[in-house]
Amino acid sequence: MSVRTRDSLGGRAAIVGIGATEFSKDSGRSELRLAAESVRAALADAGLTPADVDGLVTFTMDTSPEITVAQACGMGELSFFSRVHYGGGAACATVQQAALAVAAGVAEVVVCYRAFNERSGRRFGSGVRHREPSAEGTALGWTLPFGLLTPASWVAMTAQRYLYAYGLTPEDAFGPVAVTARRHAAANPAAYFHGRPITRADHAASRWIAEPLRLLDCCQETDGGQALVVTSVERARDLRQPPAVVTAAAQGAGRSQEQMTSFYRDDLTGLPEMSVVARQLWRGSGLAPADIDVGILYDHFTPFVLMQLEEFGFCAPGEAPAFVAEDRLPLNTHGGQLGEAYLHGMNGVAEAVRQLRGTSVNQVPGAARTLVTAGTGVPTSGLVLTADGAVEG
């Protein structure tokens, strides 16, 4: 999808397999082993073998090289391997990379994976004080000396402005997002918060982390792995699972974009990079917000879910809190990263696939068109995944 014109990628590739490890607080094994386990599980789900794979895609932040995962899984020659940058912003773009490779004939079967011990190993919120200076370090150097040190605090700076602009309280604005995620997670045996729904009062009573964000506005730091298998739609039709067709895929970065600290642009009430993704996805798929059956919107912190709904045009600016509170769109039906697991958005892609297969624990009857987004506050990506035949190619 170009920023300017419609592309020819839509309808050419499909996700045919999904596989994950358990999501835990301490996996007890290496990140490479988690990656390999999730890749094998995704291939088994697809009814394919490692020998069928000729492409791998992951995140630049992933510590398991493609060639090492290939060795650990018994794959042979690879004709395609690629990585996408910007943390969780890579999630949907890994599928886009795979779809590009498949559509161009560069590879036949591509597996996208992400695996980490984010909770028991190096935690993202444990400070970046010892980070090696780099070009990215320079950008962070504008905030760290003042004690603005964590992902939660970077999101909070924009969230504060959102509340101010629309005259909202943290409880009324962010509470519904947290409650919705936890309601879905409560029904999901794979979720960290299985069986543990929360109320708006629980949210409001949880302790401050980086005001205006509370504990229950923050995702679940997780150990685990998630993989997805992508191949051509033609081949997908011969495999065991109903295909989740990549009807549109897009990446986006905004003007004056930074990684998590885009404080110096416009009015800090939205996510311009997600608007870039949204415009491409709507144009590429020919769909509109009203056509979407399920939204899987990246939720490492609650406020950015609201801004995404507004950027995609599900509701007007400032109206997302009411939109979520009224359940006007089935949202993050796996429990999201707030309730299921924080797997850098890859578990959300898998949930969209389950909705299209009809196998979600919170199944939306007849779900045929899903929207999935990747990391927010960073250069990011998104997907429209649909059931085979649900959208004209």
């Binding site: 320079t138 000396p145 909070a156 700076m157 005001e211």
Partner: protein, 335 residues
């Protein structure tokens, strides 16, 4: 040389304390009783907790009871390793003879049910730098206990104590004069003073060839903003080209120092050594129109608000670092 802190003695003590991080405090501890219905019932009655999940044939124990199953009681329990005792003795010797439990953090990985027999291991997770609190000066010691049932993790229990010399009592190597301006205000200064005392330094500015001019200006107490020589657009943060027109040419203008709080965050968690939560960080919109992240000083963290008029001030931190910070403009003190 009065400002040279910490003293060598303090450094040496801290190094010795730090050596205990990661060492076992309890190895293969065993809960004194299996998880059992009577204790659950007493707990729920004491807490007034009527959650039906805690009664009946499928009862689980309230997750917050986690510590109850590993407490040693008056007679203690076996398995305690020597390291923890040594660490406490070291602190006693240094004059930190008082102890207070400060906080506890638990994670619940799976429910405990009557009949479960818990085993646990405790590790000394961290020893803080020297901290001064209202109680006195000392060190925070954090232990983490991993609780298991049948070999599978059931939860973790983090427990933090402050081992301290009561206020008014000297630490063995302590120069009391050091703390004369200890609690001057709510934010920046306190951080600064504590930072010196515990040798925990703020993250340094990250300086490279693209932004060295800014930090050089700060050293000379001038806040410099880049200006595009082609289209005159001001820009911050510093970058080697103009985001509006793409021109590489630039000069600088010195900011007047007047600004307003455009947004802000109050940091509560997690604690970092050089900072004392809660504290406020502002996104300051300068009168010139660009924004900069900085601290809002001389005002309690809970009085910072969007729109607060502020003015620039340069402050030294950690002896060798100057940062531009902002205080309420005269007549705007919000306290």
């Amino acid at each position: 040389m009065d400002d040279e802190f910490p003293t060598r003695d303090e450094d040496e003590l801290h190094t010795r304390l730090k050596a205990y991080e990661g060492r076992a405090a309890t190895v293969a501890g065993v809960g004194r009783d299996p998880v059992n219905a009577p204790m659950i019932r007493h707990w729920c009655e004491a807490m007034g907790d009527r959650n039906p999940a805690y009664t009946g044939p499928d009862a689980i124990a309230p997750p917050t009871m986690l510590q109850a199953w590993i407490m040693g009681g008056l007679s203690g329990h076996g398995g305690r390793a020597r390291a923890y005792g040594e660490l406490l003795a070291l602190l006693d010797e240094a004059g930190c003879t008082s102890v207070v439990a400060t906080d506890c953090e638990q994670e619940y990985l799976r429910p405990l049910r009557p009949g479960d027999e818990v085993t646990f291991d405790t590790v000394i997770e961290s020893v803080s730098g020297r901290k001064t609190t209202k109680l006195g000066t000392g060190y925070f010691v954090t232990t983490r206990t991993d609780i298991r049932v049948g070999g599978a993790s059931a939860g973790t229990h983090r427990f933090r104590i402050l081992k301290y010399a009561p206020a008014g009592h000297d630490l063995k190597d302590r120069d009391q004069d050091r703390n004369q301006d200890g609690d001057r205000n709510q934010d920046g200064d306190r951080n600064q003073d504590r930072g010196r005392q515990e040798a925990a330094r703020r993250p340094r500015p990250v300086v490279n060839r693209d932004n060295a001019g800014f930090w050089e200006g700060v050293r000379r107490h001038r806040l410099l903003v880049q200006r595009c020589t082609a289209c005159a657009t001001l820009r911050f943060p510093w970058l080697p080209g103009c985001g509006t027109c793409g021109s590489a040419g630039w000069d600088t203008v010195e900011a007047s120092g007047e600004g307003t709080v455009y947004s802000y965050v109050v940091m509560h968690h997690p604690p970092f050594p050089a900072f004392s939560p809660p504290y406020a960080i502002g996104l300051i919109e300068l009168a010139e129109g660009v924004r900069i992240v900085s601290n809002v000083v001389d005002v309690p963290y809970d009085k910072v608000r969007i729109g607060l008029p502020v003015e620039l001030e340069f402050r030294a931190y950690d002896d060798d670092s100057v940062l531009p910070v902002f205080r309420p403009r005269a007549g705007e003190a919000a306290a």
